[in-house]
């Protein structure tokens, strides 16, 4: 078949006219491929995009995506564009040489859009936060909230996407989801970006369960300068609950009345030489009070696998990788002491009174550590205790010494002298139990959550008669049992996760800086990939240079690689990084389509067959 028959313009036009007159199909093709439709499409798409960018600027990316970019009508409109592009090329049939550029450009756009569809259907874009301390990971988070329900009949788990960020369920506008295999429904009637679990005190008679009952206080801390108000619960239930760290500024502490005198700890300075081959016989030397800690060096195949273990009869056991200990002082639990490595010898021997290492092989590893009183912290603290009359006393300490003490005022806030923080006593309960409550954090910035908060939904179980169970908050990444009568439906909420066919481990994360500044010049994650067949690969994800697995040129060209690129980082924790993972099998269509568009436009504009110059004038 001759693709480019030589026809004069008149012949071509006559052919088209005859074809249109004789066939309904051709009439439809010509209507769909009309220039009117094309221009309407171009204008509406441009307008929709413009509206979307302003929506994104004044609301959020999620909303713009939900209502425009990823909305069915917009995708449908792009599909109409595809149809228009294809029909317009058909209307020129039989194609002639002068149509080359036109055809290549238009099919290029179609191919590009097909690539996008393939990418959306068969590919994914996810995130993974990994730390060098964690073992290899094999799952990614997809930015797509879902609700998972377990059928009470079969136990099967069903997931439904729930775009909470774009269309948040509200008490007035609840979302109903049918529980599969039953005639029950779940009503999701609230959503909050910040939901948190908070420990609160509830009065309980000590006679009920003395193990659960303990004394405690609830305080409110306020700062006008920071525009903040924090509810804080301190109680004697456990060590963690006794203390609260205020943004690293100061410490709040609940103590026993008997302990109320300030303890001036004796200074500790102790050296321990420990051998991994002979863990029971360390060489210890104390210049002052003994530390009460026993250090042990536990070996591995290589120096980097070594572990340092510290044990105390009071505080239990702590472990660190040796490499970490060699980098700087470690705080020991209790807050009084620090441990610091003085030296490490993989193959220890004494030569003329000096410890030396014979080689880098860990043949007789030895570690010298020093345990000493932490430098007197200048961090101020507030201590609270109750006397036998049930009155709450306070002590304000600075550098370990009491600056001010007395009865905790009940009518006015106590000025703490830390910036402009003030504390008021809300309640004191001599006998209370700790209950965890899931609460919605108000969007009022003054009431910022003190702990870690996560998004959450509130859901209740409904039956077909319209009876409703107790609504419950479900935090992202967790699940709750919703109940109604005897029926229990476990419901989970969170971002969708997707398994990867391999495991990823973060070996090292480095952030080089520009000279003399803290401005990062790059982010480098050294990753180790391992697939189930035992193939491993090490690769680096740098800025603008993603790591790939399984790797290889042809896989890259066909879009069959998983790409790991830098997404975000935590300046406070340089052992952790968040990577974006992308898998896009639509990639070859996209880039071939792109190439066609560029070449097509070039052909269209500059490689026209010789003919009379375009008629330009006031049409």
């Amino acid at each position: 078949m001759n693709l480019f028959p030589q026809l004069t313009a008149a012949e071509h036009q006559r052919l088209v006219q005859e074809r249109k007159a004789g066939s309904f199909v051709w009439q439809v093709i010509h209507a769909l491929g009309s220039l009117h439709l094309a221009v309407i499409l171009l204008l509406t798409i441009a307008l929709a995009c413009a509206v979307a960018t302003f929506t994104e600027s004044s609301f959020s990316t999620r909303i713009a995506q939900h209502y425009i970019y990823k909305a069915p009508w917009f995708i449908g409109w792009l599909a109409v564009l595809c149809l228009n592009l294809m029909c317009v090329t058909l209307t020129r049939w039989p194609w002639q040489q002068k149509h080359w550029g036109f055809i290549i450009t238009h099919y290029g756009i179609i191919l590009l859009l097909i690539g996008a569809v393939i990418g959306r259907m068969a590919g994914f874009e996810g995130f993974m936060t990994i730390s060098t301390d964690q073992p290899a990971q094999g799952r990614v988070l997809i930015q797509e909230s879902t609700v998972q329900m377990q059928s009470p009949v079969s136990g099967n788990i069903y997931g439904t996407p729930l775009p909470v960020e774009a269309v948040p369920p509200q008490p007035k506008r609840p979302r109903l989801l049918a529980v599969p295999e039953t005639d029950y429904k779940i009503e999701i009637n609230d959503y909050a970006e910040q939901v948190m679990t908070r420990m609160e005190l509830e009065p309980v008679s000590p006679a009920i369960d003395p193990a659960l009952a303990a004394a405690g206080v609830q305080l409110t801390l306020r700062s006008a300068m920071m525009q903040q108000e924090l509810p804080i619960t301190l109680s004697a239930h456990n060590q963690a609950q006794r203390q609260h760290d205020l943004f690293g500024l100061a410490k709040l502490e609940w103590i026993e009345a008997t302990q109320s005198a300030p303890v001036q700890p004796k200074p500790v300075r102790e050296s321990q030489m420990v051998f991994s081959l002979n863990p029971t016989q360390p060489i210890t030397e104390s210049s002052a009070a003994p530390s009460g800690w026993r250090v042990e060096l536990r070996g591995g195949a290589q120096a980097r696998d070594f572990e340092v273990i510290a044990r105390s009869s009071v505080y239990g056991e702590v472990r660190w990788p040796l490499v970490q200990v060699l980098q700087g002082a470690m705080a020991l639990p209790g807050g009084q002491l620090e441990l610091k490595a003085i030296g490490f010898w993989p193959h220890f021997v004494m030569r003329s009174g000096q410890p030396v290492t014979l080689s880098a092989e860990p043949l007789n590893p030895a570690l010298l550590v020093q345990i000493y009183s932490a430098p007197a912290s200048t961090k101020p603290s507030l201590r609270l205790y109750a006397d036998s009359q049930g009155q709450v006393h306070y002590q304000l300490l600075r550098a370990g010494l009491i600056q001010q003490q007395g009865l905790m005022p009940t009518n006015a806030p106590l000025v703490l002298g830390w910036a402009d923080w003030q504390a008021s006593l809300t309640t004191y309960l001599p006998s209370a139990q700790l209950v965890s409550k899931v609460v919605k954090v108000t969007t009022d910035p003054a009431r910022e959550p003190t702990g870690e908060s996560r998004p959450g939904i509130r859901a209740a179980l409904l039956n077909h008669q319209g009876e409703r169970g107790e609504p419950q908050w479900i935090l992202s990444g967790s699940s709750q049992n919703l109940r109604l009568g005897e029926t229990v439906v476990p419901v989970g909420f969170g971002l969708r996760t997707l398994p990867l066919p391999f495991q990823v481990k973060l070996e090292e994360f480095t952030v080089p800086r520009y000279e003399g500044t803290d401005t990062p010049s790059n982010y480098i994650s050294r990753l180790r990939f391992q697939d189930p067949n035992g193939n491993t690969l090490e690769d680096e994800a740098k800025m603008n240079e993603p790591a790939m697995f399984p790797g290889g040129l042809w896989r890259s060209a066909l879009g069959l690689n998983y790409k790991f690129s830098q997404a975000s980082w935590n300046p406070q924790n340089l052992r952790e990084t968040t990577l974006q993972i992308l898998y896009d099998p639509g990639w070859p269509c996209k880039w071939v389509g792109s190439l066609m568009i560029c070449c097509g436009i070039f052909t269209l504009f500059y490689l026209k067959p010789k003919r009379a110059p375009a008629k330009l004038g006031n049409g």
């Binding site: 220039l35 441009a46 600027s57 910022e448 003399g516 974006q580 568009i597 006031n618």
Partner: protein
């Protein structure tokens, strides 16, 4: 290659301009080593928005300003040297609204500043993903100007002692022992420290020869700063265009040739400026608004020169020169809005190859559209002046040529952006505002071309379209960063210049409306004649 360019440029220019002591003194500042003179110029612009800075009793060249701050800053504490550009902020702080610069003492004692600074800090802490209001952003600017002022008077920012070994290690200020005699001499006689500094430089250099920048490198930057290539470029463009316009009916041939040569000369000045910036920063010169405006001016002239070489019509130069001259003068006059200092790249852009190709293509397409805009103006003005149908048709034809270049480059650049994004972040297209607006601009130009093909409008429609569609380019280029301020291209965000942009857009619409009115009138007249 870099060395080659470098030597050539150096040979031509270092001989022309005498080097001064402070050109040879290196300083580490904001992630880069630079000549002290360049540092002084940047600091003066940053603190006061002026270089040189005029006070009530004297004019301070940037070097004198920074040296005085460093060695004898007492008087300058009381002089109005710190820029508070934003009028609502001046009103809020109870400062004199008609004044733009205030003394350090005034601002430090200004009771309203600290609560606003806290408000800004709280806002950033509580809403880490949202941008600050213009007022709070300006508060942060003023606060960091105050900190910079302190850093200069206390000497912490004058980091001129090189790191002993590491190329990227932090430099330190001059030790007190060496600083004290400098201060004493400076107070007696300002010029007396010149020989002291001259003697100091070899000591600093020999302390860490591998770290200290080479004299050639320092000279290049100092020369770049003093030679004002952008200013010479616009002067040459303006002269060339005026000459071409004046010789339509008189001395046609020689007027055209000299005009073309002048424009080419201006173009060479721009090339020199870009080469300097590339060598100094080691990256392509299109990473902030200042550089991109200058580059678009360059692109406009480049495409005009090429098309001029083909068509020999002089309209391309007449259309391109006003655009380029306006862009270059505009950036020259607004140093506080368009930061001209050369700074290291944000990590996101840290990939020169793709950055070069993608950004240069996109901005060249803006240049082509700017040329089309200029030609559209020329055509519509000619229409107003009652030019002949034949001449107009020719102008429309040129306009079409410029649009073609723009569309090809914009399509290619947008797609290359996708390729870069796919390579570096994985995804090809994510409806980021910058890429979306590039697409919108492309779509609007496509509408113009398709409409002409359908016969709905002709050359006049193209001219009107070139002016109207350029507003979408303006949105993609300036609006996304300065108006929307959202999305992944956030490294380019800034503020300011909005009133100018809004006035420009409004005037363009008025111009188009008047041209359409004129066109209608002409058509009815023609129909009446028939």
């Amino acid at each position: 290659m870099r060395k080659f360019l470098f030597l050539g440029v150096l040979l031509i220019l270092t001989t022309l301009l005498p080097a001064e002591v402070f050109d040879d003194l290196a300083i580490q500042d904001r992630g880069r080593k630079k000549p002290f003179s360049s540092f002084a110029h940047e600091m003066s612009l940053y603190l006061s928005g002026k270089s040189p800075l005029t006070l009530t009793d004297r004019t301070l060249p940037p070097l004198d300003f920074v040296l005085e701050l460093w060695l004898d800053g007492e008087d300058l504490h009381h002089q109005p040297v710190i820029l508070v550009d934003y009028l609502p902020l001046r009103q809020k702080l109870g400062l004199e609204p008609s004044q733009k610069r205030f003394s350090y003492v005034t601002l430090e004692s200004c009771a309203g500043l600290e609560p606003l600074q806290r408000e800004a800090a709280n806002w950033t802490r509580l809403h880490p993903n949202e941008k600050l209001s213009p007022l709070l952003r300006e508060v942060n600017n003023v606060v960091s100007r105050l900190a910079t002022f302190r850093g200069l008077t206390e000497g912490n920012l004058i980091k001129i002692v090189p790191h002993p070994s590491s190329l990227s290690g932090p430099w330190t200020p001059l030790p007190e022992v060496q600083l004290e005699p400098l201060r004493a001499n400076f107070k007696k006689d300002r010029r007396s420290i010149w020989p002291q500094i001259e003697a100091l430089i070899p000591t600093l250099r020999t302390q860490s020869p591998s770290v200290y920048p080479t004299p050639a490198m320092l000279a290049l930057e100092a020369t770049y700063l003093k030679s004002h290539p952008w200013r010479w470029a616009w002067i040459a463009y303006a002269l060339g265009a005026v000459l071409m316009a004046a010789t339509f009916h008189w001395q046609r041939g020689s007027g055209y040739r000299v005009g073309y040569a002048l424009v080419l000369l201006g173009f060479l000045f721009q090339i020199y400026g870009f080469v300097c910036r590339i060598i100094i920063s080691g990256r392509p010169p299109v990473t902030n608004m200042y550089e991109s405006i200058v580059w678009v001016a360059f692109g406009t002239v480049l495409i005009a020169l090429i098309l001029e070489a083909i068509y020999r019509s002089r309209y391309f130069v007449l259309a391109a020169a006003p655009v380029a001259v306006a862009a270059l003068i505009f950036t020259d006059l607004q140093p506080a809005v368009f930061d001209r200092s050369i700074q290291p790249l944000v990590a996101v852009l840290n990939n020169n190859y793709w950055l070069t190709i993608h950004v240069l293509t996109i901005t060249l397409s803006y240049g082509a559209f700017a040329l089309a805009l200029g030609l559209g103006h020329v055509a519509l003005i000619q229409l107003w002046r009652g030019a002949k149908e034949k001449d107009l048709a020719l102008l429309y034809q040129y306009n079409y040529r410029a649009l073609q270049v723009g569309i090809l480059l914009l399509a290619a650049g947008t797609i290359l952006g996708g390729v870069w994004a796919n390579y570096s972040w994985g995804r090809f297209w994510d409806w980021d505002p910058k890429e979306t607006w590039a697409l919108i601009a492309l779509l609007t130009y496509l509408v113009i071309l398709h409409g002409r093909m359908a016969g709905w409008w002709g050359g006049f429609g193209l001219a009107v379209g070139s002016v109207l569609c350029f507003q979408s380019v303006l949105m993609a280029w300036y609006g996304v960063n300065f108006v929307l301020g959202a999305g992944l291209h956030s490294y380019g965000f800034g503020s300011g210049g909005l009133p100018y942009a809004a006035t420009f857009v409004a005037m363009e619409f008025l111009f188009v409306a008047s041209a359409v009115w004129k066109f209608r009138q002409l058509q009815t007249k023609r129909q009446a004649l028939l």
